[in-house]
Amino acid sequence: MSIDTLAQEHPGPHDVSHIRKVAMWVFLGSEVLFFGSLITTFLLYRTRIGDGPGAAEIFDIPFTSVSSFILLMSSLTMVMAHHSASRKDWRQMRVWLVATAMLGIVFLSGQVFEFTEFVEEGLTVSTSPFGSSFFVLTGVHGAHVAVGVLLLLATALMSFTGRLRDGEGMNVEIIGLYWHFVDVVWIVIFTVVYLMQV
């Protein structure tokens, strides 16, 4: 198999959707290494709790399971938005976009709540390396979700006001890739950070 078949010939230089998708996947490849580094740091430090609380003491698995579930389901709404967009059903697309953003916001609120709980129970970024790596990993993930929410709402809004008519479907697809990826990262974090407590 030659290099060329591996990369598969492109459909043509003017397929903007293709170009953007390639770019997004390239970027996501990079994000894998980004989150990989954060998760690695966490794995190294998860048992280094110093005098502070450890994972088993503070995690509220049922709570986090619910918020994880909510983020997971936002992938469903996201893919529905994309589906509507590909059928050029803009109204429905907006509904799904807003729904996705709302689920994202619920997830974020859950995270904020969780963080405040942990701080009250005595875990902060400077309690122990466990605390530092936990907050930075989940915080950076939260920031990704927040960016996604902004993108979703902005797209919904712009679609509502009639701007961006042509590019809409494509934008939704690109944002969707990002959103699903952020979800996928949480799938890993949920397992590695919350469920696998040694």
Partner: protein, 98 residues
């Protein structure tokens, strides 16, 4: 592969996939509560989250249906990360226990 490029799943499929994801998540949480599974819980969890990962990427992100180039681009990262970071953790003795 380009012949399948547009055979995207239907909304019904999406709901079904979401259901599967929900079930796996339920299973994940459950196994952590079953003491009898303690010795195998880590591999179980890793398998299940890998499955979720693959499902979301494959179906929701359409990687299964799209041109190979997307998959290859993404796979590079997905393959590189565990190898590199696994090695790092090995040198700290984290993966094999101190």
């Amino acid at each position: 592969m380009s012949d399948t490029a547009h055979a995207h799943p239907t909304p019904r499929d999406y709901w079904l996939i979401a259901l599967i994801l929900a079930v796996i998540t339920g299973a994940e949480v459950s196994v952590t509560y079953i003491d009898a599974l303690d010795s195998v819980v880590a591999p179980l969890l890793i398998t299940m989250s890998a499955a979720k990962f693959a499902i979301v990427v494959g179906y929701f992100m359409h990687l299964k249906y799209e041109q190979r180039i997307y998959r290859n681009l993404f796979l590079m990262g997905i393959i590189a990360a565990p190898i590199l970071f696994g090695t790092v953790l090995l040198t700290f003795g984290v993966l094999i226990g101190d």
